[in-house]
Structure formats: structure tokens, C-alpha cells
């Protein structure tokens, strides 16, 4: 495979995605064969662009909140003062992962009502785990000689954290964020079962009216977003890893 081929494919995907969400009408002939009885081929109960935007916004808010909390927790349990919580936090993360997103979503509804809020809660809880796990790995596997040198140079605990530990574990933490974003992008669609405005609305409308064109366009937009964001975050991750002088696989 030529080196420029992946970049070209990516560019093509971006162009297709932008064209589809801004001008879905262009693609009507392609999707028409999937519909029956003259049903509309393009989602007509809202703009795809708005839904895509809302979908991304939901994922962004949840991921930012999850990142802040997860990294803060990981920092806390790797300090001497919080070391007591380390084993427990590990088992809690393990337990947390066994909660299915649908269950979290449905159980959040009585507490906060229908709409975007239960989706945000579910995405937040689900996003916490990969980020926390990676931040923990990053912070606990720092090279001992580097930490020793930082201490020897007379750095205080705060300085070591901000100037040595966090920058060095940044690539691993970013890896966790990437995983969390991809999971959230797909999980956010389930949020539409509790009336959140996401691309899941398109898919569910398709399932309810037996319109395969809707299911396909909703699914493909989310998948394309996930692939592109995954690629973008991988690139940032490689860049930070290079800056930290680490080899990446």
C-alpha cells in the first residue's frame, strides 16, 4: 500500500461525510432502493447537520467531564495520601464496566427525566473507566530513574506532577480518551431511546417505520465520525509521544 493512500481515503471520507450531512438530498438516488412503498429515503423529521452537531456536543461534554474526573481520581490515588484508595478504585472500575449502558440510561431517567441528561450521565460513567484505567497505568509505570532525577533536582510534589508525571503519561491518557470517545459516539445513539437528540433518532425512526435507508444513514454517519475522530486522536497521541521522546508501536 502506498504511504499516501490512507490519507487520501481519510480525506475522501471527510468530504463524503460533510457532503452528506449538509446536502443529504444529493444521495437520495443511492438510498432510494432501500425504502419500500415510496417512503422518504432521507431523514425528514429534522436536519442531519443539527443532529450530528448535537451528537458531537453530547459526546464532547461527557468526555471532557469524564476526563477531568478520571484524571483527577487517578492523580489522587497515586499520591501517598490517597494510596489507600488504589486497590479499591481498581476493583470499582472493574465493577463499573459490567453495567450495561442501556441499564444506566434507563435507571437515570427517573432521577433526571427524559432527554439529554440521562444520556450525559451514562456517557460520563462509561467514559470514566477507560480514561481512569489508562491514567493509572501511565502514572504508575513512569521510569523510576526519571522520577528519581526529578526528586534529586529538588522539584516539589506539584512540580513533579505537572512537569514530569503528567506530560510523560499524556500519550497513554490520550489513548484512554480515544477509546472513551469511540465508545461514547456509538453509545450516544442509544440515548435516543430516552428522547435525547442524537443521530440515534434517525436509526430508531428507521427501525420503527421499517425504513432501512434511515438506519443505514444514521449508522454510517456515526461510524464515519468514529473512524475519523479515532484517527485524529491517534495522530495527536503519536505526536505527543514523539515529543516525550517515546517510541510508539
Amino acid at each position: 500500500m502506498k504511504a499516501w493512500l490512507p490519507s487520501l481515503l481519510r480525506l475522501l471520507l471527510v468530504v463524503l461525510l460533510v457532503a452528506f450531512v449538509t446536502n443529504p438530498g444529493w444521495f437520495q438516488p443511492l438510498l432510494k432502493p432501500l425504502t419500500e412503498n415510496g417512503a422518504p429515503a432521507i431523514y425528514n423529521q429534522g436536519s442531519l447537520l443539527t443532529l450530528t452537531f448535537l451528537h458531537l456536543r453530547t459526546v464532547l461534554i461527557a468526555t471532557v467531564a469524564a476526563t477531568i474526573v478520571a484524571v483527577a481520581l487517578a492523580i489522587l490515588v497515586t499520591r501517598p495520601a490517597g494510596a489507600e484508595f488504589l486497590p479499591l478504585s481498581r476493583s470499582l472500575v472493574n465493577i463499573g464496566q459490567t453495567f450495561p449502558p442501556v441499564a444506566v440510561l434507563a435507571l437515570a431517567v427517573p432521577a433526571v427525566g427524559f432527554g439529554e441528561k440521562p444520556t450525559l450521565i451514562a456517557l460520563f460513567l462509561y467514559g470514566l473507566l477507560p480514561i481512569f484505567e489508562n491514567a493509572l497505568t501511565g502514572l504508575t509505570t513512569l521510569p523510576a530513574n526519571v522520577m528519581e532525577a526529578a526528586r534529586g533536582a529538588g522539584m516539589t510534589g506539584w512540580q513533579r506532577l505537572l512537569k514530569v508525571e503528567l506530560p510523560l503519561s499524556a500519550p497513554i491518557i490520550l489513548g484512554g480518551i480515544r477509546l472513551s470517545v469511540v465508545i461514547s459516539l456509538a453509545t450516544a445513539t442509544i440515548g435516543s431511546t430516552v428522547a435525547a437528540k442524537t443521530l440515534g433518532e434517525v436509526i430508531i425512526a428507521g427501525l420503527l417505520s421499517n425504513n432501512l435507508a434511515f438506519v443505514l444513514q444514521g449508522g454510517l454517519i456515526v461510524a464515519a465520525l468514529a473512524v475519523l475522530i479515532y484517527d485524529g486522536l491517534s495522530a495527536i497521541e503519536r505526536y505527543t509521544a514523539r515529543r516525550m521522546g517515546q517510541e510508539t508501536a
Binding site: G82, P87, V102, P110, A186, G200
Partner: protein, 387 residues
């Protein structure tokens, strides 16, 4: 003597204090969909048991708060959890007006927070005890038996979730077995296909990147879309391939759900097989080759046993994920516990949601604990053998 506080204990005691004195213990509703009225511990329980529960909670919180021996903390958490579990049933029958079948009593936030606080304490004790894999499975079995006994004894029958169950007892077990069949069946299919594919990817480097990329992309398709998209091809197969319909393959229902879960399961199985095989020490392979082992002997005698714990980790990920994802199958008529969840969301009947969600979480949780124990056992066995 100086009094020393346990850091986690401070958190637990704070949660327990809020839950016991400020949050509602149970909710009373005149029927299943109206908003509920809150009842505190003293209002929800008879005059004798209410103060008793408060005393147990306060004592448990104090034991958690101070630096106390592990055995005492273990006892405190178990006693508190047992008391909460039994007494919520008492609250159910106490609050239900005599002869009224419409009233619904459900545990409220205070109850759930107390359960959370003492489970936290129990989890902390169990983590610190560093139990062997067998002991962890044992704890799981004891907990399951205790819950089973409470269910059989009818102690919880006056609670709303069990009233929902009583109305749907038959379909509950039918959907439950569908759920388990979907999750386990797709796992078995994924292992049968994924293991050879993983071995192939390990041996043929050209195939590796391509296959893993395709499987990665499948993971990014949202589950509800993948379930929906499989309706068309399977519908076509059912209509055009002779015998397919007789096998139960249809456009909607279990077949697309099964195929979707299978596709999602492939990546962890294949990727972990590749990683596991790649992690086999070179020395072991060289030694096996030097002994004159054939490729096949090496695969089954050396590589496979060494890679087994990593492959099992993939299987654990798949099983826990499948149990959760199988709830989505209900959206396309595939059955499973998701049926109750989505019905409950549709009727805003939260007890019905719980009837679907609680068994799903319990299944996933039990699967995770059992497989973690198995993984640890195979990993330590290997270490002992190689030591």
C-alpha cells in the same frame, strides 16, 4: 490513645449518615405510574425494627470510620447489608395498606445509597484480604444463595419490582433464557471463528493489519444501527436460501441480534489471540523447534497454552459486553431482558425497567468475577509450572 480515622471510612460514614437520616428509605405510590411519596427509615418500618436498623447503620458507619481490624469491618458490612436486604422487605409489607393490590412500594435513594456505602466497605475489605480466585467465586456463590433465599422466602414479595415480576413470571424466564442464549451463543460462535482467524493473522502478517482494521471498523458502528442493518440481508437469506427459514433465520428477531453480537465479539477474540501468540517468548518457540516439534505440535503444545490467559481475557471482555449489548436486541424483536427495559421506558414504569436491568447487571457482574478468577488461575498455574 489517639483515635485514628480510616480515609475511606470517612467517605462511607458520610454517605451512610446522609442516606440514613436525610434521604428517603422507601417510596410509596398509590399505583404503578404516579409519582411517589418519600418515607424515611422510621416511617417505613415498624416501631421496633426502624430504630434497630438505624442502630445497625450507625454502628457499621462507626466501625468503618475508625481504624478497626478487617474481620470487624467484614462483619459490619455483611450484617448491615443483610439487615438492609431483609428490612426493605419488611418496609414493603408494612407500608402496603391491607388488601390493597395497586399500591407500589419501592426502595428509594436512601436505601440504594446505604447499600452502596456498605458494598464499598465490603469491596474494600475483600480487596485488602487479597482473596484467592476460588475464594472470590465462593463469596459470589454465597451472595447469590443469600439473594436466592430471600427471593424464595417471599420476603421481598411486597416490593414493586417483584409485583412486576409476578405479573410477568413466565415471560421473565423466557426472555431471560433468550438473553443468555444470545450472549453465550454469539460468544461460542465468535470463539469458533475468531480463534482460527487469530492464529491465521498471527502466522500471515499480510492478513493481520487488514483483518484487524475491518473488525475495528465494525466496532464503531453503533449497536442499534448494526442490529437494524442486518434485518435486510437476513430477510433476503430467509426468503431465498432453502432451509434457512426452517432453521429460524428471519429478518427480524433473534437472528440479526445473534449475528450483530457475533460481529462485535470477533475483534476482542481475534485481537487477543494475536497479542497472546505474539507474547509467547521466543526462547520457548526456539526450544520447541529444537526438540523437533512440528508446527501443529508447537501450536497446541507450546504457543496455545502460553497465550491462553490473554485469549481468556478477550473472552471475558466479549462475554460481559455481550450480556450488556443483548438488551438492545429487544429493539428489533430479538427478546432478552431488554424487552422489560424498553417497555418500562415506554410506560415510564421504573419498576419494569429495574426488572430488566437488575438481572442484566447481575449476570454481567457474575460473569466478570467468574472469568477473572479463571484467568488468574490459568495465569498462576502457568507461573508455577514455569518456575
Amino acid at each position: 490513645m489517639r483515635i485514628r480515622f480510616d480515609k475511606l471510612g470517612v467517605v462511607i460514614a458520610a454517605i451512610a449518615a446522609y442516606a440514613a437520616f436525610l434521604a428517603p428509605f422507601a417510596t410509596f405510590r398509590a399505583n404503578r405510574i404516579v409519582p411517589g411519596e418519600a418515607r424515611s427509615i422510621l416511617e417505613a418500618l415498624p416501631a421496633t425494627t426502624g430504630p434497630l436498623l438505624l442502630a445497625i447503620v450507625v454502628a457499621g458507619a462507626l466501625i468503618a470510620l475508625l481504624k478497626t481490624p478487617l474481620v470487624l469491618r467484614l462483619a459490619a458490612s455483611v450484617v448491615a447489608l443483610a439487615a438492609l436486604a431483609t428490612l426493605i422487605g419488611v418496609a414493603g409489607s408494612f407500608l402496603t395498606p391491607a388488601g390493597n393490590t395497586f399500591a407500589r412500594i419501592s426502595p428509594a435513594s436512601g436505601f440504594w445509597l446505604l447499600i452502596f456505602a456498605f458494598t464499598l466497605l465490603l469491596a474494600d475489605v475483600l480487596t485488602r484480604l487479597n482473596l484467592s480466585p476460588w475464594a472470590r467465586v465462593g463469596v459470589l456463590v454465597v451472595a447469590a444463595l443469600a439473594i436466592g433465599l430471600l427471593l424464595i422466602s417471599g420476603q421481598w414479595n411486597s416490593l414493586s419490582i417483584l409485583k412486576e415480576y409476578a405479573n410477568r413470571a413466565d415471560s421473565f424466564w423466557a426472555e431471560g433464557s433468550k438473553h443468555v442464549t444470545l450472549a453465550l451463543g454469539s460468544l461460542v460462535a465468535a470463539v469458533v471463528v475468531g480463534l482460527p482467524l487469530g492464529i491465521l493473522c498471527h502466522r500471515v502478517e499480510k492478513l493481520r493489519a487488514g483483518a484487524l482494521n475491518v473488525l475495528n471498523i465494525i466496532q464503531t458502528i453503533p449497536s442499534i444501527a448494526l442490529f437494524g442493518l442486518l434485518i435486510a440481508p437476513l430477510g433476503w437469506v430467509a426468503a431465498h436460501v432453502p432451509g434457512a427459514a426452517a432453521l429460524g433465520i428471519r429478518g427480524i428477531g433473534t437472528a440479526p441480534a445473534f449475528v450483530a453480537l457475533f460481529l462485535y465479539s470477533l475483534l476482542p477474540v481475534v485481537a487477543n489471540t494475536v497479542v497472546g501468540l505474539a507474547g509467547v517468548p521466543r526462547a520457548a518457540n526456539d526450544a520447541a523447534r529444537g526438540m523437533g516439534m512440528t508446527d501443529r505440535q508447537r501450536l497446541f503444545g507450546v504457543e496455545f497454552p502460553l497465550a491462553f490467559p490473554v485469549i481468556l481475557t478477550g473472552i471475558r471482555i466479549v462475554l460481559v459486553q455481550n450480556i450488556g449489548l443483548a438488551t438492545i436486541a429487544a429493539l428489533i424483536g430479538g427478546g432478552g431482558f431488554g424487552v422489560f427495559v424498553f417497555q418500562g421506558v415506554g410506560q415510564t414504569a421504573m419498576d419494569l425497567v429495574l426488572l430488566g436491568a437488575v438481572p442484566t447487571v447481575a449476570l454481567a457482574f457474575a460473569a466478570a468475577i467468574i472469568l477473572d478468577a479463571v484467568i488468574e488461575m490459568t495465569a498462576t498455574k502457568r507461573r508455577v509450572e514455569t518456575a
